[in-house]
């Protein structure tokens, strides 16, 4: 026993009794962020250089954990700043009264980027960089599988890309949620879901975290990924064989920073925001490991030649007028619809889609009007949605997801209905497509 204790305590004490105490509170600015070390380290270094005596204490949590953390610790808040990409997370925090109003003093920053206001109109959170959504792919993978370069979302719905595409679940990734919402607003509810489901029929996987997609594409496990632009740019900068394109239905949205309500070091928090928005802070974004789009148009003068510039390139994000209010009302409903109809039904939607592809390939060789009608029916069955756009933002349905005070439908009930709807429709679609294939042969 003594010997064991000696071994065990040797482990414990050979390494010192306590980890270093945190720095004294004066001059410590605490930020909760979802950004990786590659982003936070250069910013921290530059910020601390600009403000000697101030240290930036970076607490890394994914966006969801960060929101939960602020919620749980609000009674005795120790965090000064919240710093992440997804605007919806900031909306949630704002709604819960966890953010502090502030008016940045930085100059040279326009009001809008594309169609999107850079700062929260109510003054609770502020854009510091911009990002757009697009398609990244692994060149080696595409070459080995003889796949063409995609340009638009709808390209990914083509039969050649079957089983080659990956995306994060919108319920897990705020940035992916915005991609889905952008498609829904750009193409309309019906057509938007049709596009999304046609793409989804080709999905190889739906990952649970945003970075899962670029990780899989970088490894060559999956060929094509629907991602936010900087994942592709930073992978290129690290040397991976990656290409990227912005489809025309994209939107450029700001990545944000906000001061937490009752911040222990409010002055430090303000200094950090001012630094991020200053020209020096904006220039840090150009570093190869970060590669985000600055929101100060003047800073692009220092960018590398092929750097995308949303202020000069009118095609970037100009087509879709993104309406934050519409998005906000139905966030949870859109995510749950996606999960129940696609994420948890992936095998079903894929086999239906595969049957449709096969029938269409047969029809291309030998046309048959009856079979063509069946294929159209099959496609409509796959695209069908259990609820309309109006219902999606109606209080009855949205209320089931907010856990509000009113009694009403429970989320689990609705989800089960939608899942059953999807499963039946996909099975019918598959049957019709298989019937069409027989006719076309």
């Amino acid at each position: 026993m003594k010997r064991l204790l000696a071994v065990l305590s040797a482990f414990a004490f050979a390494v010192g009794v306590s980890p270093a105490e945190a720095q004294s509170p004066t001059g410590k600015v605490t930020v909760s962020t979802s950004y990786s070390k590659d982003v936070t380290d250069p910013v921290k270094k530059a910020f601390e250089k600009a403000h000697p005596g101030v240290t930036l204490d970076v607490q890394n949590r994914n966006t969801n954990a960060g929101v939960k953390y602020l919620e749980e610790t609000r009674g005795n808040n120790q965090t000064d700043l919240f710093w992440a990409s997804a605007p919806d997370a900031f909306e949630v925090l704002k709604g819960k009264g966890l953010l502090q109003k502030y008016e940045p003093k930085a100059t040279g920053i326009p009001e809008k980027i594309g169609a999107f206001p850079i700062n929260d109109p109510d003054g609770y959170y502020f854009g510091f960089a911009a990002s757009g959504y697009g398609i990244m792919w692994n060149e080696r993978y595409a070459k080995a599988n003889n796949l063409p370069d995609p340009k638009e979302w709808s390209d990914l719905a083509k039969a050649v890309y079957f089983d080659h595409v990956a995306m994060a679940a919108p319920s897990r990734s705020g940035t992916t949620h915005l991609t889905i919402e952008t498609i829904l607003q750009g193409d309309g509810w019906e057509k938007g879901w049709r596009t999304i489901k046609e793409m989804a029929g080709n999905f190889r996987q739906i990952t649970e975290r945003s970075f899962g997609v670029p990780d899989a594409v970088n490894s060559g496990e999956v060929g094509f990924g629907i991602v936010i632009d900087f994942f592709a740019f930073s992978a290129q900068a690290s040397g991976f064989p990656i290409k990227f394109v912005y489809p025309t239905v994209t939107t450029i949205v700001p990545a944000n920073v906000a001061i937490v309500a009752n911040a222990p070091n409010k002055a430090g928090a303000e200094a950090f925001i001012e630094f991020l928005l200053s020209p020096e802070g904006q220039e840090v974004l150009l570093e190869p490991s970060i590669r985000r789009l600055p929101i100060n148009p003047a800073v692009y003068a220092k960018a590398p030649a092929d750097y995308p510039n949303p202020f000069k390139d009118p095609s970037l994000g100009a087509r879709v007028k993104f309406d934050v209010n519409i998005s906000e009302k139905r966030t949870a409903v859109v995510d749950a619809l996606f999960d129940q109809m696609i994420t948890f039904q992936l095998d079903n939607i894929k086999s239906a889609t595969k049957a449709v592809h096969e029938a269409e390939a047969a029809l291309a060789k030998k046309d048959n009007a009856e079979a063509r009608a069946l294929v159209k029916e099959a496609r409509d069955l796959i695209a069908a949605m259990p609820i309309s756009e109006e219902q999606a933002s109606s209080p009855e349905i949205a209320g089931a997801f907010t856990g509000g005070k009113q009694k009403g439908a429970r989320q689990a009930e609705l989800e089960q209905q939608w899942a059953a709807f999807a499963r039946e429709h996909y099975a019918q679609a598959q049957a019709k497509a298989e019937q069409a294939l027989k006719l076309a042969r």
Partner: protein, 580 residues
């Protein structure tokens, strides 16, 4: 004392032992220890978890008590499907893990086998799978376009879906968790009294029959301890299915719902409750399987089973089997090592080039992570073996009312998702202020306690199995000779359990060293962060993959080193005792 019985008959024929009332009576000291453990479990496990999952029992809107959410659970196809998938995967993972573990355990403990220590240590390493980067490494080797499949496709024109669907989960889980069986069965085999085997041989039993009828049954407590851990752990594990993008299993469903932002859906907590119940039932079942049997043996000090020599061909076959299994189960770590030296590794059997730069990048900053990891994990392991021995002793050697509940409550920790425990700690301890105004939950010691609670079941199972193998008559003898209860525990019980205690410490220590989910909620700053957290923040970007892998390698090497070290020290200690 009762008259001596034939231990061979007693153990192999599974006779029901008469209870010895005088010996198993309640002592005030025992009551105190039991109460203390109950308070610890209540404070650091049950209350924090209850503050989070009570939502499962409330009605939407009113907050009144209801069971309607459990009805919803049963009416949701997805959850029912997930439930059966989880059961299937866990059971199959136990089968596959046994196939990996039993040959390794038997060959290294029952035969003269050169390098047994190395095999034991290497066989343990799969348990230390750093988060994220381990999965990346496995995909690069076994994934659809991993090394193996790219080569297969090139040469033979087909691919093997190692990592797809439920079978992929079974494969990865078995590789990851088989060490639980290996460690516990090895400890149990070493504990078997040589005279049992000799008696059987004298009666004409040998070969596989000897193993099947005498040796394996005697090692059954160890096997059941390992197998039940594998079952429950696989049932409750969310990381592996999620990384393989399998979502229709129970634990991932709970996690996905608990961590969704802005949604106040009770289903995540309902699933957590189901997970906890299933885990307790599984632990109860494994205890029930042992009920009415006694696997204890009296004699000690013989140094375990006789090690026999193998013939030339026996040796060749044994080495072939061991090397094959090791190559398979260590593949993820070989991949990790390659990844940590790789420049770019994308859609190719091997990396494009090799570099030392990743180690250079993490070298400076990893020191603090290493220090914190060693401190946290060893403290957690220490707490776990102390609690584990105490709980095992109370359950097996006393008649305290409700003593099994200590065991079940501690085992339920396996089923609590780390994030639920993390949120529970914030909820319970963030409001408690220290004299300097800082919340209690921000102290690094809370990370240690969270780790200890999460890893307690590992140590507990090992200690439990070890105590089951010790005959109570040894303690009776000591007490008859005038030793106090405490002295008996200290001088007789604990030394005899040493192998199991070590197995428990190593399991808890090693897995705590790479734990992330609860830690992520509780780490307050970089200076308090363990390696797993450092790794996590690297693995969020393309450029961080190499450095992340390098940190992963450092973590694995570190834990392996500590494992070997403790093996050596303990073995030396045992040799010293048996010589005496």
């Amino acid at each position: 004392m009762e008259p001596p019985r034939n231990p061979l008959r007693e153990t192999t024929m599974a006779l029901v032992l008469p209870r010895r009332e005088g010996f198993l009576s309640v002592w005030p000291g025992q009551l105190l220890v039991a109460a203390l453990i109950a308070v610890i479990l209540l404070l650091f496990l049950i209350i924090p978890v209850a503050t989070v999952i009570y939502v499962a029992f409330t009605e939407k809107g009113t907050g009144a008590f209801t069971l309607v959410n459990f009805v919803d659970f049963l009416h949701t196809d997805l959850f029912v499907r997930s439930f059966w998938n989880s059961i299937y995967v866990s059971a199959m993972a136990v089968v596959l893990a046994s196939l990996f573990a039993l040959p390794l355990a038997t060959l290294t403990t029952r035969f003269e086998f050169r390098g047994a220590l190395i095999v034991q240590t290497l066989g343990f390493i799969p348990l230390i799978m750093p988060p994220f980067v381990g999965a990346v490494a496995m995909q690069l080797l076994f994934g659809r376009n991993g090394t193996v499949n790219l080569l297969l496709d090139d040469w033979l024109g087909f691919k093997i879906p190692f990592m797809e669907g439920l079978n992929g989960v079974i494969f990865v889980q078995a590789v990851h968790y088989f060490p639980f069986i290996l460690v516990n069965v090895s400890a149990a085999l070493r504990n078997i009294d040589r005279s049992m085997e000799e008696a059987a041989q004298n009666l004409g039993c040998s070969g596989f029959r000897l193993f099947r009828r005498v040796v394996f049954p005697l090692a059954l407590p160890g096997y059941l301890a390992g197998a039940s851990l594998v079952f429950v752990k696989v049932f409750d594990d969310l990381a592996t299915p999620l990384l393989l993008n399998v979502k229709d299993m129970l634990a991932p469903q709970a996690y996905l719902r608990v961590t969704a932002i802005g949604i106040a859906d009770p289903m995540g907590y309902v699933i957590s409750v189901v997970l906890i119940i299933v885990s307790i039932v599984a632990m109860w079942a494994s205890a029930a399987a042992m009920r009415g049997r006694d696997y204890a043996t009296v004699q000690r000090g013989g140094g375990g089973l006789a090690k026999r020599k193998m013939g030339l061909w026996g040796n060749v076959a044994a080495y072939a089997v061991v090397i094959l299994i090791l190559l398979l189960v260590l593949a993820p770590h070989i991949g990790l090592l390659l990844l940590s030296f790789a420049t770019i590794w994308s859609f190719s059997p091997l990396p494009d080039g090799f570099t030392l730069a990743h180690y250079g990048r993490v070298f400076g900053e990893s020191f603090i992570y290493v220090k914190n990891t060693l401190l946290y994990a060893s403290l957690a392991g220490l707490i776990d073996v102390v609690l584990g021995v105490a709980i095992a002793y109370i359950v097996l050697r006393t008649r305290l009312f409700g003593r099994e509940w200590l065991d079940w409550a501690a085992s339920a920790a396996l089923a609590v998702p780390g994030v639920v425990l993390g949120i529970g700690y914030l909820r319970t301890f963030y409001g408690v202020q220290l004299p300097d105004g800082r919340p209690l939950a921000t102290l690094w010691i809370m990370i240690v306690i969270a780790l200890a609670i999460r890893r307690l079941p590992y140590a507990l199972r090992a200690c439990y199995a070890a105590l089951q193998q010790i005959s109570a008559s040894l303690e009776e003898a000591a007490e008859n000779l005038g030793a106090t209860k405490w002295r008996t525990v200290r001088r007789i019980v604990v030394p005899l359990m040493m192998g199991g205690i070590l197995a428990g410490f190593i399991s808890s220590f090693a897995t705590a060293a790479v734990e992330l989910s609860a830690t992520l909620m509780l780490v307050q700053s970089d200076t308090d962060a363990p390696i797993a957290y450092g790794l996590y923040i690297f693995m969020q970007s393309a450029a961080g993959r190499g450095p992340g892998a390098a940190l992963g390698v450092i973590a694995v090497a570190l834990v392996a080193l500590c494992t070997i070290l403790s093996h050596i020290v303990i073995e030396r200690g045992q040799r010293a005792t048996s010589r005496r």
